[in-house]
Symmetry: C2
């Protein structure tokens, strides 16, 4: 199998196998019907969970944080759009912890000032998605650390041994003591709405982060708090056809601040399901299931399902050429990011409304 | 030699040997003359240091914190009185961190609520000493954690490995990750005034805590901050004649909330330098140098040096009997603690003036 930890994703991921190993559950049809209309659930990107069935229908909070890094990708953006859709549909609270402290601790060369700057820049991207300020709270650890959150991190830390983090995350003696402690703060982020409002937390997160939720559930039990649930997403495919669009791999990623020209250049080079020659493509057809442009249209760019089906069928039959599919995807991506970049500018004025 | 770590003191302590081992310096006569009139320096209780010679004479801050525990003893009180004398003489800032979080992490059965209560109770004792509210700041970690302090703890934590705390403090895999992280917060407390005001910190502390200052100096160097200094005290003798009055050993300690009756009972049982029988005492004389009552008078109860000399000589000659020495010491201790207990009540109204 592929390597899959909170700090590393390599190779092809067999999601069903992963879920079985982790002990999470697939989202079944009954549960899916309750989430009807949430795009990334309909598209099977959010595909697994813990306790989602117990949480949906009651009052709950979604926790969806971010360890701020240099760039937010189109993939990250989809995760936050999903959270906004959930907020719109269920009226739930959203808690967004930005762990600039975590990134600072883990990256030896990242300075304190740079960590803070990244948190601010990432926050603009996140808030551009359009959360309800009355029901959305942001904590940037280096900026507005909350007394309740700090206290909770110590309560969590008291229940976790060095041996536990060593076996769960492989932290060895040469790691700094901040890294070693960090799972306590991570779990405090997860349990924060539960302590503050007495409602369960649902963590919306990539499947690679599930180990934190497992640990958070153990800690919640020890602290006599309602265990958090999670809703787990697959990775969005990278431009190169790899299984993850990763912000640290520029060949795989479209960033939210890419120019219209960048987008065009990147998508022109994206991995395609087309044939070697025009003749062969016309004759045998392409493969939309592995075509990156088609994936992006399907997962988050094309709202018209009929149009999408037409593209799928035409590409498969060879009627639609790779160049034309790319051209269309470039246009849709440019529209999507242009709108995002405008919203990102506007949101600068209203950040303070979201800070705890 | 005796066992001496930040967490354990056992047996007789050979202070000169300890200082040599640690690599601190004795306070020499030149330095002593600069501190002339500071009682516990005159009495050789504060006897050693790091960089005190570089710090005295400039603008500096004294850091003197407390891990809140059930009771404050007469010995603790003397430490804080020393700090107040330093503030009066040198006009320095005083920073008092109360690490209720530390005690919570280290004591498995201590609840969060109880930790907070202890911090409040201990703070009353400390502030009763009479610090200048304009130059004195208190942080109770679970109550008014400061963003600057939190950020600093992460900066410190980034520079310290798990291996380092394991070798310095013996923290093993079964310890919780809060304990393992705690030296980072401890050192952040020490460096806080340096970061906030750009002045060096002088830590006033028992000699057993020197290892933290050593580590703090390494961290300061890595963070390009002025290294903190320290001024180190011997332990005050326990009632039982042992080398440390310890709050966790009720047979050794007078507590600040002891009743007048408690004080009498305890001092009557205190270890004495008297002879077995009255006749023998009259004939051979007592030994004031090992007599607990005489130590207390000498170190912090008797302000009149002539009177003190008279007591010393009369006890040694056999003229002063143990019962009479005890009676006098009981009276002085009762006066001292009665005044303290009154001040402690008064200070309840002004706590907020001291919180950061």
């Amino acid at each position: 199998m592929a390597k899959l930890t909170p700090y590393e994703v390599e190779g092809e991921v067999d999601y069903n196998k992963v879920i079985k190993q982790f002990g999470a559950s697939l989202i079944d049809n009954k549960l899916k019907s309750k989430l009807n209309g949430i795009r990334l659930v309909d598209k099977n990107v959010f595909f697994a969970h813990r306790d989602l069935d117990k949480i949906i229908g009651k009052d709950f909070a979604i926790v969806s944080g971010r360890g701020p890094s240099a760039k937010i990708t189109l993939a990250h953006l989809q995760l936050f759009k999903f959270v906004k859709e959930m907020q719109d549909k269920f009226g739930c609270r959203v808690f967004i912890p930005l762990s600039d402290d975590e990134k600072f601790l883990f990256k030896s060369k990242l300075s304190f000032e740079e960590s803070k700057k990244l948190a601010y820049e990432n926050l603009l991207d996140i808030l551009a998605v359009g959360f309800d300020p009355k029901k959305t709270e942001v904590i940037i650890d280096f900026e507005n650390m909350d007394q309740e959150l700090y206290n909770l991190s110590m309560k969590c830390g008291k229940t976790i041994t060095n041996n536990t983090v060593r076996s769960a995350f492989g932290f060895t003696g040469d790691k700094n003591i901040g890294i070693n402690f960090y799972p306590a703060m991570q779990i405090a982020h997860i349990l924060y709405p539960t302590v503050k409002y007495g409602i369960p937390s649902l963590v919306a997160v990539g499947v690679d982060q599930d180990v934190f939720i497992k640990l958070a559930r153990d800690v919640a039990y020890k602290l006599k708090l309602t265990k958090p649930g999670d809703i787990l997403s697959k990775f969005l495919p990278g431009l190169d056809g790899g299984s993850k669009m990763s912000s640290s791999n520029p060949y795989s990623a479209i960033y939210t601040d890419d120019s219209m020209k960048d987008i065009e250049k990147k998508l022109k080079k994206a991995f395609s399901g087309g044939r070697e020659t025009l003749e062969e493509h016309r004759k045998k057809g392409g493969n939309p299931d592995i075509d990156v442009c088609y994936q992006y249209l399907n997962l988050f760019l094309e709202d018209d399902e009929e149009k999408l089906k037409e593209i799928y069928d035409d590409y498969k039959s060879g009627k639609l050429l790779t160049g034309d599919l790319k051209k269309y995807t470039i246009k849709k991506t440019q529209e999507c990011l242009k709108e995002h970049q405008e919203n990102r500018e506007k949101v600068k004025k209203s950040i303070s409304k979201f800070l705890v």
